[in-house]
Symmetry: C2
Subunit: 672 residues, 2 copies
């Protein structure tokens, strides 16, 4: 049960939960909506390999043609559609028919030698594998493989998997360490993690070896006759030394794609954040499998730590630099465009969850699962409207006139929407993981996330089922019940790092919490197959690291990060840039919470948070600035600040669903 | 007396003052040091037009060859050398000889048609005027003209001026509005301001018209057959649409050189900061001359205001973006590299002073002169060592491991060191300006800066002389005395905006302060040709605007901004990033000042500032961060902070002169 794509098949998530609600909305709206977009934009027909007018368009970001990732868009949609089809007693024939037709087109499009790529078969024939760095051939293949795995899971046939294995075989011929092979690796990692899953699913050894090769060869400074592959490849293309795609930090800046050094030697997490997460997911998977060197394992830990301590927003978002869609320097985490940038791409947050899920299997620690949950409810959930028809690509923590808090129907580079689709399709797979415990006769279930859900699994003794009943994350009581063959089952329940109180009823003989996971022993379960875990949820104040130079405060409650919106606080005119929060608000009982719904969204229960007379608006524009401000002037501006009677906060994921003027902010300036 | 280059000739600055000390050090060390560098690097001989090995070098920043600005380096050195020669009773024959030899080479190098440029005559003959945007031909000419003006002032002959007028005549033929002319303008402004000075000095009308044309045509979107000049020029060069020099924000981003719109329509100050300042200096000069449209005058005010309120460091430095050596978005002013960048180029600060000096002549207001003085003592003075042998190009407010607080002997792109030379040469010209007052029979002297100095000037009635005796900025008492024909002379004395107290002895009948300038009437002066102005100087706390997200405090005293250095505070290990300052330190009498010198620099008196038990070190690295920090954790880290017994501050210009480990910081985190 190493992959969520498998675990989810045995997980039923109740539609009453926040998770279940989103999944149900995706099932009802997102699949068909995205299918229509695939049709409308030409993606659906692209594997017909007929010329489309868009292929003539000068790309906005040369050389990345607008259609360059179409293969992956289709692959991800098929993958997501299949996950949803799996749970349906009456599968939608339109969806089923579309999947089948797409797979048929893909099969027909494949070249006899196994090659398959829309761009290089239609637009630039003859140039395949000449620009692994920028042109996403291998990335596209990765997503097609993941689609094929889901297809195989649902349909039980090899119609999609077989051409993929053939393509992998071709890649294995063309790329590798032999003298006549290209010593290359994907510019945008994804294929690596897909190959490991392909190997797991099919046993295909070539896939495993290729993934291992990609990971070990990446960033080799001596890969091609004493020089690195991308430099040699660029020279072969006669790429000018001073040329750079506009999104590159600088010409030949290989750290953009994490190829500036072998992975094991990388000191900090750098460059394009989605690439970094997909790559590290594969590396962590290799570690889990015992097939990675010790220094690779250390690198995963080092890069993860650098990320969560110095390069992650408190929503779980990563990447502050728009130019390269990636990481800035340590502690560079402005909240929005007018403060210096905030990117926090949706796919990157999904990538963090993928990476955390892999690491948790060899290093069970709540520090990974806390981040996984943080991303889930904040950085990922904020990226779709509640009806799952609109999306964000960038997930800023503060809006500005230039970048309002709003969502869109689609994107030219459309990686995020279908990524959300496939993610929600298998969301249940992130809740838990089953494995053999250290005690050889015991089956262990690690429970990472809480949600009303049921998990069926096998033990050495037979079938078992674990059920959670709760209203998490709105309420902190989680009722567990284990049924079936409950002998020799041990549970590990995550106690979140932010939890200030928690308890188990009936009481445990002793509380054994290791790395943030509470052990529920087989002995206890034999007596108490049903028990309740209670985690205290109350509003907290959290902050980014002081070295981010922000001095802001954010309201959080459980795993949910809050924000303010103009629709609730209609007086705002400046995106809450001048709204300040008194750090004593909780101590002074100025904070109240209330479960509520809004009239326009009657099914969306949430806990609203209200701050009474402990927030202020300072008119910073009136400050007398001539290169600097005298401290006395600053003091005066605070003295004349306007107190806000009631400032309302809503969950960050809830933003931009009720109209308004697109003003929202997560972190408010600290008042005192 | 419109230009400081003229005013300084009648100004004697005492070598006892801070200004005078720097000028004396430049006279003693900088001229010959830089001459040696010109010789060692090939610049001195370059006008011989012989091939040099460096011309073969692949430029670091293509297409900007390393020697591209050599013409201007030579021009600026000649200019500076001539200013210093003017004041010498025994001119150094080496310097005199070098100037003469350089001018002789320049004369010989000029083509019969007037063209003169090292790069295009030696390296790329035949390509002249094909890339006005990037290749600095017109910029180089501007600096040669300024050199020629200084040369003419000192030598009284036309040996340098005559070839310049010939070159200007060629430019006038090649560039302009006629159909057969290039409708272009300089990529790096400088020629505009030089042409206006050339016109003032020689009366050459062509120079004036050409400057006016450059200013009015710049950014014209319809300049060439309905398109802008730079786009058409780029097409003629077959420049790829996606290509960009690495320092450009994006391909064809004309705002890099302030050509994205006509100047009158520019809403905010953008792009390369030196270019912006040189350009606006010329525009303001045109305004002063009554030859600019009202909307150009408004643009100068608008762009100045945008700069000083939202884009200027509290040292007077401008430009936070290293990539384009220029302005970031509003309020984006990180202190150093590890906080997101700080550029504050030396030349840009000199440019701010040039611009302020022009504006002050038509809008006498201390808000301009305060900034002029701020730049002088901080952003500019920090850019050279006290012995004037070492320089900075970038003037960060905080050091980091990557960018220590240190100075260098020279730079590949060496615009700053010779700019400091010529600036110090005529520094006296910035102190004051003489003009006819509104009352037609009265001569008015505006005193912008205070320093022990004497100014000789003419009135309608005869010669007069104004003398300041003071130890400014160490002490706030300034003794003025007017001698000679003192009839009908009126003074305007700047009262700095930061001054919390000031007074005149003998007392004025009434204090008439208009826009920060105190009027000393002819009537008063007739009775009191000697009087004393006292401006209270005591340590103050200043801060950047709150929307910079910094919440830092800085010590200032008079016009001097202070910093902390590791050489005084030897315990520091993190560049003072975790050093915090209690905002109540002044109120609580924790701040003391002491005039002092350091043993290694016995002649450099300064006021040291000491903070006793009101600064703290917080070990931020110990904070438990997993994407965020609980507020309680933050509070705890403050509770366990270490109090600093005595934190010593020195003037920012004083930094990096006494060894140490290169750690310095201007703004410290606000403690409470």
């Amino acid at each position: 049960m190493a992959y969520p794509q498998e675990t989810f098949k045995r997980t039923y998530v109740s539609t009453t939960s926040l998770l279940g609600q989103r999944r149900a909305a995706a099932s009802a709206n997102m699949i068909t909506y995205q299918l229509q977009i695939l049709r409308d934009t030409g993606r659906y027909d692209a594997f017909n390999l007929r010329w489309q007018p868009i292929y003539d368009k000068v790309p906005e970001y040369w050389p990345i043609a607008d259609h360059l990732f179409w293969d992956s868009d289709v692959g991800k949609w098929i993958e997501g559609a299949c996950y949803f089809l799996m749970g349906e007693s009456n599968p939608d024939p339109t969806i089923d028919g579309a999947v089948k037709e797409l797979v048929e087109m893909i099969r027909k499009a494949q070249r006899p030698d196994g090659y398959l790529n829309i761009h290089y078969q239609v637009v630039e024939p003859g140039k395949r594998f000449t620009n692994l760095r920028d042109m996403h051939e291998l990335y596209n293949l990765g997503h097609l493989i993941e689609g094929a795995l889901a297809h195989n899971q649902y349909y039980g046939n090899n119609l999609f998997l077989e051409p993929m294995l053939k393509y992998v075989s071709l890649i294995n011929d063309v790329i590798g360490l032999s003298e006549d092979q290209l010593h290359g690796y994907p510019g945008h990692p994804e294929l690596e993690l897909a190959l490991l899953r392909l190997h797991h699913h099919t046993g295909d050894e070539k896939s495993f070896q290729l993934a291992q090769y990609f990971i070990n060869e990446r960033g080799n400074p001596d890969g091609v006759d004493g020089r690195d592959f991308y430099t040699v490849e660029a020279e072969k293309r006669n790429e000018a030394l001073d040329w750079q795609p506009v999104w590159y930090p600088a010409p030949r800046s290989h750290w953009y794609q994490q190829a500036h050094a072998p992975i094991a030697q990388q000191e900090s997490v750098e460059g394009h954040s989605v690439r970094a997460m997909y790559l590290l997911t594969a590396v962590a998977d290799l570690v889990r499998l015992g097939s990675a060197s010790a220094d690779l394992e250390e690198a995963v830990t080092r890069l993860w730590t650098n990320m969560v301590e110095k390069k992650m927003y408190l929503t779980g978002g990563i990447g502050s630099m728009k130019q390269w869609e990636g990481f800035g320097r340590d502690y560079f985490l402005p909240q929005g465009t007018d403060e210096g940038g905030c990117y926090a791409e949706t796919c990157a947050a999904i990538g963090v969850m993928m990476l955390a899920q892999r690491i948790l299997q060899y290093d069970l620690n709540n520090k990974y699962a806390d981040i996984m949950e943080l991303c889930l409810y904040n950085a990922v959930f904020t990226a779709m409207s509640l009806d799952c028809r609109k999306f964000t690509y960038v997930n800023q923590l503060a809006s500005s006139e230039k970048d309002l808090s709003e969502r869109f129907g689609w994107f030219r580079c459309a990686c995020c929407p279908p990524n959300i689709l496939r993610f929600l399709g298998m969301i249940g797979g992130y809740l838990w993981n089953v494995s053999e415990s250290n005690k050889s006769d015991t089956t262990q279930v690690d429970v990472h996330l809480y949600a009303p859900a049921t998990f069926d699994f096998e033990t050495l003794a037979g079938h078992a089922s674990l059920r959670q009943e709760c209203d998490w994350p709105r309420d902190g009581n989680i009722r567990f019940s284990l049924t079936g063959t409950i002998k020799n089952i041990q549970l590990k329940l995550r106690i979140p790092g932010w939890a200030t109180s928690w308890g188990i009823v009936p009481a445990l003989p002793h509380q054994d919490v290791i790395n943030g996971y509470l052990t529920i022993t087989a002995e206890y379960l034999a007596v108490h197959p049903g028990f309740t875990l209670t985690i205290g949820l109350k509003p907290r104040l959290i902050a980014p690291h002081p070295l981010t130079n922000q001095q802001t405060l954010t309201i959080a409650r459980g795993p949910i990060v809050y924000c303010v919106e103009d629709v609730d606080n209609t007086w705002v005119t400046d995106h809450f840039r001048s709204t300040c929060l008194d750090s004593r608000c909780i101590k002074n009982n100025a904070v109240t919470e209330k479960e509520m719904t809004d009239p326009s969204l009657p099914d969306e229960r949430y806990v609203g948070i209200f701050i009474t007379k402990a927030a202020y608006v300072v008119d910073f524009t009136k400050l007398n600035t001539n290169a600097f401000i005298e401290k006395e002037e600053l003091d005066k501006s605070m003295e004349t600040a306007k107190v806000i009677n009631e400032l309302k906060f809503v969950p960050y994921y809830y933003r931009a669903n009720r109209g308004g003027r697109g003003m929202a902010r997560v972190g408010l300036k600290k008042w005192v």
